[in-house]
């Protein structure tokens, strides 16, 4: 990407700015080879979009952008249990985030397979609603789209066509993920993403962010006489959302059902429990805090009674036991390092986490 992007970012840096990396990703823009397995993983994006749209149309979620990002003709009504669950899909978070925080104090990066990013960029280009949400002026120079139509860069929003497996410490930083400000407090989000990689690859991806992209940086020289200051280490957080507990009857069935669809959850055995998720975060450099909770816990403890009642009123849920089973097999884990800003993640210390396995 053009190097001219970078100065823009510095101009637009705001106090509480946070970048965003990670996503579901794994095919790159450089290679035309797409393995069957990768295609299946890419397909999970559509699957999740359809689920999100179903939940939106039934009133579970408010998301005016879900429809534009779901392939036309694929809308399907899901069972209540899936509607109630969390679904990501061609992520609409950026649109919701930007419309709820104006002026925006967030810089948002998305990383995904080129095939998925190209579809998303097409959707943005053809949907005025999405452009408005991003406050894009197509006529302005602020917006650049790559020739292949799979990369998009604006002052606040970047879409990177990138195979996460290609992120290597040997890659020049300007080429890896152009537009990332390495000094800003940054939150990485992986929604059912790293789990599709091998344990080694998944660890390498995280290390790329913690050790390389957000490794120590130095303030630029202002004058030639100034002595270089101490390194800046950006506060960095990671939120993971993925399946856990593969070894009970439900988990075993999940693994075999997904395998029948060609979907392999490669790190599931390694990070099989809440405990293993916390240990993973600590091991991968999020030393200031690590926590985890399954979706059942989060539904019970984080969602207020009013919202539960609202959701219960949308559809009669005749799947309580199944819902609990399913919800216990997905977890959110989160960890953080404070870097040079001890208070960067202070809000996270009061979140209610789930103890034990």
């Amino acid at each position: 990407m053009a190097a001219s992007q970078i100065p823009n970012l510095n101009l637009l840096r705001r106090g509480r700015g946070r970048g965003r990396g990670g996503s579901r990703g794994v095919e790159d823009g450089h290679s035309t080879r797409t393995s069957g397995k990768d295609r299946v993983v890419q397909g999970t994006d559509n699957d999740a979009s359809v689920s999100r749209l179903s939940a939106v149309e039934l009133g579970y979620l408010v998301d005016p952008y879900a429809k534009a990002l779901t392939p036309p003709g694929s809308a399907t009504r899901r069972f209540p249990i899936i509607n109630r669950g969390m679904c990501a899909g061609s992520d609409t978070r950026v649109f919701r985030l930007f419309t709820s925080r104006r002026p925006s104090d967030v810089i948002y990066h998305e990383i995904d397979f080129a095939v998925n990013t190209a579809a998303k960029i097409r959707a943005i280009r053809s949907t005025p609603n999405l452009q408005r949400a991003l406050e894009l002026d197509p006529a302005s120079n602020d917006v650049t789209v790559s020739e292949a139509g799979d990369a998009l860069h604006t002052p606040f929003y970047h879409i990177h066509p990138c195979d996460l497996r290609s992120l290597s410490p040997n890659l020049p930083l300007s080429e890896a993920l152009p537009g990332v400000d390495r000094t800003l407090p940054t939150l990485l989000i992986s929604e059912c993403c790293l789990i599709y990689l091998s344990p080694t690859e998944a660890a390498q991806v995280v290390t790329f962010f913690t050790g390389h992209l957000f490794g120590p940086t130095y303030a630029p020289f202002v004058g030639s006489e100034e002595v270089q200051s101490s390194p800046i280490i950006a506060p960095l957080g990671l939120i993971l959302y993925e399946p856990i507990r593969p070894n009970d009857p439900f988990g075993r069935t999940m693994v075999s059902n997904l395998a029948a669809r060609g979907i392999q959850l490669q790190t599931l055995n390694k990070y099989a429990s809440l405990e293993a998720q916390r240990a993973r975060l600590l091991e991968q450099g999020f030393e200031a805090g690590q926590a985890a909770a399954d979706i059942d816990f989060i539904w019970e403890r984080w969602v207020n009674e009013e919202e539960k009642e609202r959701v219960a009123g949308l559809e009669m849920l005749d799947e309580m036991e199944e819902w609990r089973l399913l919800a216990r097999h997905y977890c959110i884990s989160w960890g953080w390092r404070n870097g040079n800003n001890p208070g960067a993640f202070s809000g996270w210390t009061t979140l209610q986490a789930q103890p034990g396995e």
């Binding site: 899901r78 309580m320 997905y330």
Partner: protein, 433 residues
């Protein structure tokens, strides 16, 4: 071979029957069901089954494990349709069997036997897909409206006839066998006993309270030396019958068993109140009929709000009181997935039976059916009532509880779909991806 037998044969092979035949079948079924009361009386021996949910291949496995109709007397506690991919084949087969052998199979209504629920959970879509219109769905829904709301099982034996096929090295038993009567037995799908529990033989009314409900070890074995000798077991195999006619202070007659899909209702304090409901309608969103089909037992006291948005939660005190007032020894119900196929709660006062293995092709659970044997000690006569006789004629313990029936659970796993020469599509279970 009659048309009906042909239809049964065809449906057993998981092939649908023509729409005109469905219409006729549903008409006949309605004529039959309209004659049934809201609470059907069923004589033991009987095999009680929980949710099926259109898992046709697993229903065939159930018949393999539990015996075929009409050899085995069945009671299905509803939720025949929705979720699985073969709701039509499953429900129509059960309905054919009902029409063909009305005295050997009892069907009661589950909360999914409803127009509203079937449009959300798959049966409606399946009808459209397989018949091209909503006609068959409408016929079936009309039958749903006539299904009984519950059943009372009478004449069950308190003691099981040992199945004799135990695999001793894997049997968890509460022993000793000699002095106790076999109260519960759990068998796997190969007919091997995997667990059994005994209770002290009833000596006098003051001992009745020591019965070991809830599949827990008997507490008072050592205090039983003066008990009568073990009875000669003369009952036919599989009936659970024993020849316990030994003139002890009590007879072995047990209290009646109420079978209902969901559970109890705060509006219903007696079985007779169920009989007063005007049931021939779509399942209402609230009220007694709704509660019977939607409620769940829970570890609470009294009544609680149900997270399902219909029915209530009810605690052990409610069950105990209801059973006592109605001379019942047990409430058998379905409605809730239990990973082990069955679950007894509240000192054995209520049991959940779940008969859909690997529910929704996703849950990884096993299924179970519950067999109640026939009590032959009273010479084969069975008191005809809703169980109210129980307090005077049944075994009454010091705390006025009646003795629970001997319970044999047959546990089974999901059928391998591709090994039976029946059409089966590879099911796709939803996950968050």
């Amino acid at each position: 071979m009659s048309d009906l037998d042909r239809a049964i044969e065809q449906l057993r092979a998981c092939r649908l029957i023509p729409e005109s035949q469905v219409r006729e079948l549903c008409y006949k079924a309605r004529e039959l069901l309209i004659e049934e009361g809201n609470v059907v009386s069923v004589d033991a021996p009987v095999t009680i089954c929980g949710d099926i949910h259109g898992q046709f291949h697993d229903l065939m496995e159930l018949f393999r494990v539990g015996g075929d109709v009409p050899d085995t007397n069945y009671l299905f506690m509803g939720d025949f349709v929705d979720r699985g991919f073969y709701s039509l084949e499953s429900f129509l087969l059960l309905l054919c069997l009902k029409v063909r052998y009305p005295d050997r199979i009892t069907l009661i209504r589950g909360n999914h036997e409803s127009r509203q629920i079937t449009t959300v959970y798959g049966f409606y879509d399946e009808c459209i897909r397989k018949y091209g219109s909503a006609n068959v769905w409408r016929y079936c829904c009309e039958v749903f409206d006539y299904l009984a709301l519950g059943a009372i099982v009478l004449g069950a034996s308190s003691e099981l006839e040992p199945s004799g096929s135990g695999v001793n090295n894997m049997t968890q038993s509460t022993m000793p066998v000699d002095d106790g009567e076999l109260e519960t037995e759990v068998l796997n799908s190969r007919g091997e006993v995997t667990m059994s529990t005994y209770r002290p033989r009833q000596r006098s009314s003051s001992d009745a309270s020591t019965d070991s409900r809830n599949i827990s070890p008997p507490r008072d074995i050592s205090a039983a030396p003066g008990q009568t000798a073990a009875p000669a077991r003369t009952g036919a195999p599989g009936t659970g019958a024993s020849g316990d006619g030994n003139g002890s202070a009590t007879t072995s007659r047990t209290g009646a068993v109420l079978c209902v899909h969901g559970g109890l209702s705060p509006l219903i304090d007696s079985v007779d109140k169920i009989r007063l409901i005007d049931r021939k309608q779509e399942v209402p969103h609230e009220g007694a009929m709704c509660d019977l089909l939607w409620s769940d037992p829970d570890e609470i006291e009294g009544w609680g709000l149900s997270p399902r948005g219909a029915g209530f939660l009810f605690g052990g005190d409610i069950v105990k009181q209801f059973n006592h007032l109605n001379g019942l020894s047990l409430v058998a119900r379905a409605h809730q997935l239990v990973m082990e196929g069955y679950k007894e709660m509240f000192d054995g006062g209520i049991v959940t039976v779940w008969s859909a293995p690997n529910y929704c092709y996703r849950c990884g659970n096993v299924a179970a059916i519950l067999e109640l044997g026939e009590d032959t000690s009273s010479g084969g006569t069975v008191a005809r009532s809703n169980g109210e006789y129980g307090r005077s004629n049944g075994v009454v313990g010091a705390d006025n509880t009646v003795v629970s029936p001997g319970r044999r659970y047959r546990v089974f796993e999901a059928a391998a779909q591709d090994t039976r020469g029946m059409p089966a599509k590879k099911p796709v279970a939803d996950y968050f991806l």
